[in-house]
């Protein structure tokens, strides 16, 4: 076991775990944030997606010891802590989730996409979101949700509308 100092959702936290433990299990079972999900354990489904320094990352494949000391980790619980993220709001408007289990990962991937590409087209969405499986089949709404979130972020940023 070893002590790791992590910054999760802006809060510093200390965990005592095996160095090879994936960030997924550290976040879920040692930091206590259950929103990040286990789906496949081999980065094939994206349910475990979190942001590491703003980048969408599959936490099931990141040994906690491989994280840089100053790495900033954001989970679904941290993305809309003060007010819902535009993606979360869009997910509600479009009624995206069915079971919702994969949606933490979907939302984290979508939010990371919009950060680097505020106005993604369908091909951009395909490229950014194809690593996130949804067995309930909410893909059509995920696509609509991302377009809606992009529109709302643009309106907010330009001040051109509400």
């Amino acid at each position: 076991m070893a002590i790791f100092n992590l910054t999760v959702n802006g809060k510093k936290t200390k965990v005592d775990v095996e160095p090879d433990m994936p960030l997924l299990w550290v976040v879920r079972d040692f930091v206590g944030l259950k929103g990040t999900k286990f789906g496949c354990g081999m980065a094939m489904c994206g349910a475990c997606t979190v942001h590491v320094n703003g980048e969408a990352s599959r936490s099931c494949q990141i040994p906690v010891s491989s994280l840089a000391k100053n790495a900033k980790i954001t989970t679904i619980e941290g993305i809309g802590e003060t007010q819902l993220h535009a993606v979360q709001q869009a997910w509600i408007e479009e009624q995206v989730p069915q079971c919702g289990y994969c949606q933490s990962g979907q939302i984290m991937s979508a939010a990371a996409l919009l950060k680097t590409n505020p106005k993604p087209n369908d091909a951009d969405i395909d490229a950014a979101m194809s690593g996130n499986l949804c067995r309930c089949g909410t893909y059509d709404r995920i696509r609509k949700g991302i377009h809606r979130a992009a529109d709302s972020l643009q309106n907010t940023n330009t001040g051109s509308g509400k």
Binding site: I92, P97, I125, D126, C134, R135
Partner: protein, 725 residues
Amino acid sequence: MENINTSRRSFIKTTSLTGVGLIIGVSSFAREKHPKNISHTNPNKATVLDLEINPFIIISTDGSIALINPRPDMGQGSTQAAPSLIAEELEVSLDKVRLIQSDGQSKYGSQQSGGSSTVRGLWTSLRKAGAAAKEMLIETAAKRWNASIADCYANDGKIYLKNSDKSFTYGELVDEASKLVVPKNPKLKDPKDFKILGKYNKRLDVPERVTGKAVYGIDIDIPNMVYACIQHSPAIHGKIVSIDDSETLKVKGVLQVMKCERQMPHRKSDAVAIIATNWWAALKGRKALKVTWDNGDLAKTMSTDNYFAATYEAAKKEGIRYEEKGDFNAKFANAKQKLEANYETPFLAHAPIEPECAVVHVKDDGTAEVWAHVQGPDGGLGDVSAALGISKDKIKFNVPLLGGSFGRKAYHDYLNETCFLAKALKKPVKMIWTREDDITQGPYRPGMLSHMQGFVDGGKITGYHHHAIGESIVGQVFNGLAPDESDPWLSGEISTENSKYEFPVSKISWTNVKTDIPIVWWRSVYASNMGWGQECFIDELAQLAGKDPLEARLDLITDARYRKVLETIAEKANWKEKLSAGQGKGLAVFASFGSISACCITVSKNGDGIKIDKVVSVLDCGYYVNPDHVKAQTEGNIVMGITAAIKGGITFTNGVCDQSNFHQYNVMRLNEAPKMEIHIIDSGENPGGVGEPGLPPVAPALGNAIFAATGKRLRKLPFDITNLA
């Protein structure tokens, strides 16, 4: 006033006769002489009485209302749909009530989400529960005002006196109201007066599902629990010869290694559990474990090649007859224009993104508590009781949300395993399956063969035979199929009574080909297999008859509802439109779970394969709760239906599953999801299913579209749409 005991007896009698406990949702339970005090509402307010008006409605004297959802939510929206049925009649708005998931106790009747049964199964009983409570509240208010019942009405949690400013909240009336006789036949609202049912409503649980706050089975943590990961037999039914756990026990966090068992409904398998202080350690311990297995004959009996070879052999022989009109064999032998073809569908894993898991705590005082994402807590409670040897009344069964299921989590092998460990360890245990467990261990949708025969005469389809061949769910899971019996579930789905095809001559038959590969229901059960053969073969016969596939179907069907579905899909999908070169449209119709669905798919040639341009789906599910639920479920059915046609496929070689995770068991991804359009027919018929009926016509619509575009008739699923050469 009816005696309380008499009505209790009649409740039990009715339920045992029908098997549907909720048939009298307004049961005698509210007629307790001393209303039941439910302790979990407002524990800080000692003066508040929480009264159970009937098993599904708890109104507190402070006005707060809780409704019980008797059907676990696996994504199909039951947490909204079931309470909506009560709230509509009770005249309360859903955002003002608390929802409680039922816990398996018998007073809630059947609690199984499955068979697309939530709304159609509860449509009358839950509305009656709400309406009866409303009438009791109105009667109480009328008495207090010395007014006639006709002058009182309910709205938004209050009873009002007409032409006055007088009103009572439900909380103010409930103590007295709960002592009244529960009306047996309360008046239900005319659907034209519905405020909630049939209307678009946002689901109230979506915010928690997008913020990581929703609690699924895998999210349960309780103090002092240990974690378990289970090494299953790679050949599923192998027997343990020896276990070498020396490396496992060196893994930090591993506490112990123990033999355990996987109790499936029909048989038991050996397994080894790794118990650890955290699940990652348990998984690492499993990787270090060495188990030697005796697989006996499993290499032969667990082979999909052998299984399908047996189904093709069976196709050459006469099956067990389910129905026959005319002498099909004689007519077929003499027919001038006839066809014969075999349609194959593979075994499939359900692969919900949340793997199977459970938490079980056997306590020192002889009671137990369970947290399990099952589809039905009533069946779950029974299984836990049997596994633990503890009576049901000493078990508290909690049902967290299901992160997908599609039939899988109604099979309680994983829960039984957890019970086995909890009983042995005397500690709370959290057991989680890996994705590899989920894909390699089953149970699966059975692979099936449809042997089709038919003939045409004078431009019409005049003879049809569907011989369904494969393993029986009723037979394997429930040991409930006699050797001379055709599978009762399957035959129902492919009967002419169900398809409404009025063939002049027809036969439906069945042959059971057994396998040791564990099987179970998968979204839409056999309809997901049989739609493929039925609807592609109808197109083949139409072509032989020189008929347009839509016209050929309309020629065979006089049932107005089915015709409307076909006419609607033709209109919405622009069936008659002129297509560009290399494009093709295909359609299919299939009725299942009380609803009728048609699908039309447009494809275009794309290199050696095709691409899907658009999917249009039409559903007549009668009355429904929320059109957006219906659309969402149908979107899911389109994605899962196409996935089942072009992805995945479980195969077993030498006793072992050839796929292990999503790199080999592919499911559709976002970039592959087609454009889709969904139309609901407002037929005003009795409610039918919604969660499954959209699926069966999808694969055959695709197969028929590919034929239209390329001239290639595909008969075996799955196929690769990028390369059909």
